[in-house]
């Protein structure tokens, strides 16, 4: 049964999302950092560093999703990595989101649960000083500081990518933190969104950030969506990337799935992709034998716990074979 994804500020699934997030962070697996490390080659950025006690303490389900993200982004592709900086960005995160949705359905015993999205372009219309006070922040514990109150106040995470040395560490369970507007003061707005959606090219050679004019590059956020390009270069990043940078704190490093806002952001990005496909067609490039390895339509996507899927298999989340979800409202 396809579930209906809605806006976090209006959907009846918001409370189930919070309950599920906390439940998954308190639900231990039997998987330890030491066991995951044994699957990695020397030098992998997905290797977890920790004290002996933390290396052998099982991770929670929530931590395991976080590690999955780091595992994919530490695996190079022909350009970028197996989850970012190329055409794979949208299908890989679609698969990632769906698996969390399924895990929350199981953990909360709510088969009708659907992930909520955060319509950040709407908040981007607010004055900069009003943006950290938008309704979404009342719901999910505030835009600044450690989140110990509210419906996710009991969320505890253990993984953290530390940029003193770039390593991934496992620590004792801790609250997440946010540091909104530290680097950029404004969210993407409706005009940015409309311009990105108007680009009819999904992606194109050279498939990478500074050399590609495409919807994917705009929505991921490496390209200013303004068309034609403004004479005065604007400082990025844009769209999805800008949301990460605007929230900052745990949303900044590769361990960003720690923060439930990661999922709200990506659910909205997936909604934009769905909007784009309904407008321009369910098209994915590169196809077989073209483009960067690891990002082509029939290349397997990096997965843990669940079997891998291919980009070509996730283009329509409503088709009979998947019957995953639909959105209550597409973007404009």
């Amino acid at each position: 049964m396809a579930v209906i994804r809605g806006d976090i500020t209006a959907t009846p699934h918001a409370q189930t999302f919070f309950t599920g997030v906390v439940a998954l962070s308190q639900q231990p697996t039997t998987v330890t950092p030491a066991q995951l490390n044994q699957t990695l080659p020397a030098g992998s950025a997905a290797r977890i560093f920790a004290t002996a006690a933390e290396l052998n303490r099982p991770l929670s389900w929530w931590d395991l999703f976080c590690w999955w993200h780091v595992r994919a982004m530490s695996t190079p592709a022909g350009t970028g990595n197996r989850a970012h900086r190329g055409p794979i960005f949208l299908p890989w995160h679609r698969l990632f989101l769906r698996r969390l949705e399924e895990a929350i359905q199981i953990a909360t015993n709510r088969n009708d649960f659907a992930l909520p999205y955060w319509d950040w372009a709407a908040d981007g219309e607010l004055a900069p000083q009003a943006q950290p006070n938008a309704p979404v922040w009342t719901l999910i514990g505030g835009a600044r500081g450690q989140i110990t109150q509210g419906p996710i106040g009991r969320l505890r995470v253990r993984l953290y990518q530390d940029n003193r040395d770039g390593r991934l560490y496992a620590t004792a369970p801790r609250a997440i933190w946010r540091d909104a507007q530290r680097s950029v003061t404004t969210l993407p707005n409706r005009a940015d969104q409309a311009r990105a959606l108007a680009d009819g090219t999904y992606d194109a050679p050279e498939w990478r950030e500074q050399r590609t004019d495409s919807f994917r590059n705009k929505v991921e956020g490496f390209q200013d969506p303004t068309e034609p390009p403004p004479a005065q270069r604007r400082i990025g990043p844009w769209m999805h990337n800008r949301v990460h940078v605007w929230v900052a704190g745990d949303m900044a490093p590769g361990s960003s799935p720690n923060d439930p806002v990661f999922w709200l952001n990506h659910c909205n990005v997936d909604r934009l992709w769905e909007t784009w496909m309904q407008r321009h067609g369910r098209i994915y490039v590169p196809g077989a034998g073209q483009g960067p390895a690891g990002q082509r339509a029939n290349d397997p996507m990096v997965s843990i716990v669940w079997p891998s899927m291919r980009p070509s298999e996730v283009l329509d989340p409503t088709e009979a074979g998947l019957d995953w979800y639909r959105y209550d409202r597409l973007a404009t």
């Binding site: 308190q26 639900q27 697996t29 998987v31 066991q35 995951l36 699957t39 990695l40 080659p41 030098g43 992998s44 950025a45 560093f49 004290t51 982004m73 190079p76 592709a77 022909g78 350009t79 970012h84 199981i106 953990a107 450690q146 953290y160 940029n163 040395d165 560490y169 620590t171 004792a172 801790r174 540091d179 530290r182 680097s183 950030e209 500074q210 990025g236 990043p237 990337n241 800008r242 940078v245 704190g249 490093p253 590769g254 960003s256 073209q290 483009g291 960067p292 390895a293 082509r296 290349d299 397997p300 996507m301 990096v302 997965s303 843990i304 716990v305 669940w306 079997p307 891998s308 899927m309």
Partner: protein, 142 residues
């Protein structure tokens, strides 16, 4: 997932079954292997194209090359960064238009290495003490 709740226990059991399946495969990720393509990049753990993907350190210089009016140009950029007097040896990559990116902050696309190092300090050096203490303990024991 409170104890004594039959529905919660059923959910926990379903999640456990998924983990047992993951364990039976040796916790290995699926989908890592990619057939070689026309553009000829295997799925190595290091050095995909010109984007270093290891810990971000020791990535070497950024090399931007292009042709202009028949002249072949290469611009090689290497940063040496110290923070509080200690070497920070992560790789900052320069893109064609001069913006820089860094693997450890994957969504940041900023105009200069100065902006990037500020973001590194904001996100790690100035993280809450609870985080820094956990990392410090791991680093000291290692």
């Amino acid at each position: 997932m409170a104890g004594g709740d039959p529905q919660a226990e059923e959910g926990a059991e379903r999640l456990d079954r998924l983990i047992r399946s993951f364990a039976s495969g040796g916790y290995a990720a699926d989908g890592l292997e990619v057939e070689d393509g026309d553009e000829g990049h295997h799925d190595h753990e290091h050095g995909g194209h010109d984007h270093p993907e290891g810990h971000g350190g020791h990535g070497g210089p950024s090399v931007r090359s292009f042709q202009h009016r028949g002249h072949r140009v290469e611009i090689v950029t290497r940063y040496e960064v110290t923070i509080d007097g200690e070497q920070w040896d992560q790789h900052i990559e320069v893109l064609d238009d001069g913006n820089v990116v860094y693997h450890g902050l994957p969504q940041y696309l900023v105009p200069s290495a100065v902006d990037m190092v500020r973001a590194v300090i904001d996100s790690s050096y100035e993280a809450p003490e609870e985080i820094r203490a956990g990392v410090r303990a791991a680093r000291e024991e290692a």
